[in-house]
């Protein structure tokens, strides 16, 4: 077989796989733009006749979409701030200080990584109830604000920084907090970005926990709101589709904007 032929086969295979990966999205977008009769057309049409943008305005007005969006943004931002700050502080301590109990603390972190959230949601919810945080965004954020895997990632990143840099800074007499913030943290930027990305993707898409905690509509995150949309408009799937497209846009933007950090972030996430 010639080189060109081999290449053609590879490209063909990849294109086929890409069609399978992308097809369902095309179908979703197509559904979101259909008129009511066309929705049930058989055979199904891929390109809608009349591009019914009213599905988008319809779903926007039918459910408090802006509120869902706002709540999701609050939850993601809150989680990001907590997770990045506390994980990098803890990771720094574990990587750069000798102290009593370090091995034990590291063991706790590893134990934390091994606990699946699906296992602990019942006591978590019981505790959130006792703390008066049920049905609040704080109740969604706080239990998953610090990810043990993030501590682990940051520890690895700080460990990779050469000692000399730290020593030079210490001679200049900087305080530990300044050393962490001004000298060390900027050098872990790729890991920090990776942690930020997979925190964003994980929190934005999270469903089970917000579903458990949130009861009233005005507190729903996008994912919870969408899941209720399926029930409420099961006979009007065009609205559901339009809502899904709208909810996917933020992730897509972040993905396209931060592509180069993605592989790292995803690989770190894989070990979860």
């Amino acid at each position: 077989m010639t080189y060109a032929m081999k290449r053609a086969i590879i490209i063909l295979t990849l294109s086929l796989a890409a069609a399978v990966a992308i097809g369902p999205f095309v179908w979703l977008i197509s559904t979101s733009l259909k008129g009511s009769e066309e929705l049930f057309a058989f055979p199904p049409t891929l390109i809608p006749h009349d591009l019914a943008l009213e599905n988008y305005t319809g779903v926007w007005n039918a459910v408090p979409f802006q509120t869902y969006l706002f709540n999701s943004v609050i939850v993601v931002l809150g989680t990001l701030v907590f997770n990045l700050t506390f994980c990098s502080l803890a990771g720094f301590a574990l990587a750069r200080y000798e102290f009593r109990g370090r091995a034990f603390v590291f063991l706790l972190v590893l134990a934390g990584i091994m606990i699946p959230k699906e296992v602990i949601i019942i006591p978590l919810y019981a505790n959130v109830l006792k703390m008066q945080l049920a049905d609040t965004l704080a109740g969604v954020v706080l239990p998953f604000a610090v990810d043990a895997l993030g501590i682990f990632m940051m520890r690895q990143a700080f460990m990779a920084i050469p000692r000399e840099i730290e020593e030079a800074a210490t001679v200049d007499g900087v305080s530990p907090l300044r050393l962490w913030w001004n000298v060390m943290l900027p050098m872990t930027r790729p890991t920090l970005a990776a942690l930020a990305i997979f925190t964003f993707i994980g929190t934005w898409g999270d469903f089970l926990w917000p579903l458990v905690v949130l009861k009233s509509r005005e507190h729903f995150t996008l994912q919870v709101g969408l899941s209720y949309l399926i029930g409420a408009f099961s006979d009007n799937y065009r609205y559901v589709a339009a809502g899904a497209v709208l909810a996917a846009i933020p992730v897509l933007l972040v993905f396209l904007g931060m592509q180069k950090y993605f592989e790292r972030g995803i690989f770190a996430g894989a070990t979860k």
């Binding site: 803890a90 610090v146 469903f207 993905f255």
Partner: protein, 280 residues
């Protein structure tokens, strides 16, 4: 004062970890021994919940389904590895493909559920339409058992392939080029080289992917919850059963017993997982 620095740095993270991971982990074992409704007082029942589990058909069915979902793991691995090898071989053309394969991964699972529920729809769904083109009868993707489990597997494969492709690419990136080039000089073809050199060198990544994707299969919730909400509970998975018992029936004690079983199942996988991470 100086000695306190690392402890102060660790304090916030450890506080969160203790309060929201380690403490609940202890609580779950305790709760599993209680007759504990979300609203009422609790009483100690010893192994009562576990005796109930053993005699509960729905528990065994959902457990079996969760295990059944693990069967899709080898398929995902083959597809993901093939994609990774192809994408890597054609570096320049591969770039945009990586992006496309990745879209299902970043899409929130609820949206994935919305998309596929519509594709699986019986009378107007795309999938049954495609089947009809080949004169095949329609399949009850959303209602028949065990077809429902197959439907969930299809979605898992669709979403997982791109993700594990990335993981494989990361694993492939650390294999020294020289090793592969040397085998080329020795006259090995691409296929031979892949089978005899690349895949054996990829063993740690293969193990990692196996562990991660089978653990994910056992913990499956959102896909099932959004794609086959109408199916009987026996068609669903262990975590959906846990959710139903704890948050629809408010039986925290019984739900916790299910959680203990889930924990024991995942711990074996997770243990191997951490060992892998340490050795990396």
């Amino acid at each position: 004062m100086k000695a306190a620095v690392p402890y102060l740095f660790l304090l916030p993270a450890l506080l969160f970890l203790a309060l929201f991971a380690l403490l609940p982990m202890g609580q779950i074992f305790y709760y599993s021994l209680l007759n504990y409704s979300a609203f009422g007082p609790s009483e100690f029942v010893g192994a009562g919940n576990f005796v109930r589990l053993v005699n509960d058909g729905n528990f065994w069915w959902t457990l079996a389904n969760s295990f059944l979902l693990v069967l899709v793991t080898p398929v995902i691995m083959v597809v993901a590895l093939s994609l990774a090898l192809l994408v890597r071989r054609e570096v320049r053309i591969g770039k945009p493909f990586r992006l496309l394969f990745f879209l299902p991964v970043i899409t929130p699972i609820v949206i994935v559920g919305i998309i596929w529920r519509w594709i699986f729809a019986e009378e107007i769904g795309m999938l049954n339409y495609l089947l009809s083109l080949f004169s095949l009868p329609p399949v009850h993707w959303l209602t028949d058992y065990p077809t429902t489990t197959v439907s969930i597997m299809i979605v898992t494969l669709w979403r997982g392939a791109g993700y594990y492709m990335m993981v494989f690419l990361a694993g492939l990136a650390v294999i020294p080029r020289e090793v592969e080039e040397a085998s080329m000089i020795d006259g090995a073809g691409w296929l031979q080289q892949t089978v005899h050199i690349t895949i054996p060198l990829l063993k740690p990544t293969l193990t990692l992917v196996f562990v991660v994707s089978s653990t994910a299969a056992i913990k499956m919730f959102t896909e099932v919850y959004t794609i086959i909400p109408g199916a009987p509970i026996a068609n669903k998975t262990l975590v959906v059963y846990l959710y139903q018992q704890a948050f629809e029936r408010f039986d925290f004690g019984y739900g916790s017993a299910i959680a203990v079983v889930l924990f024991l199942l995942t711990i074996a996988f997770s243990y191997a997982n951490v060992r892998l991470m340490e050795s990396r």
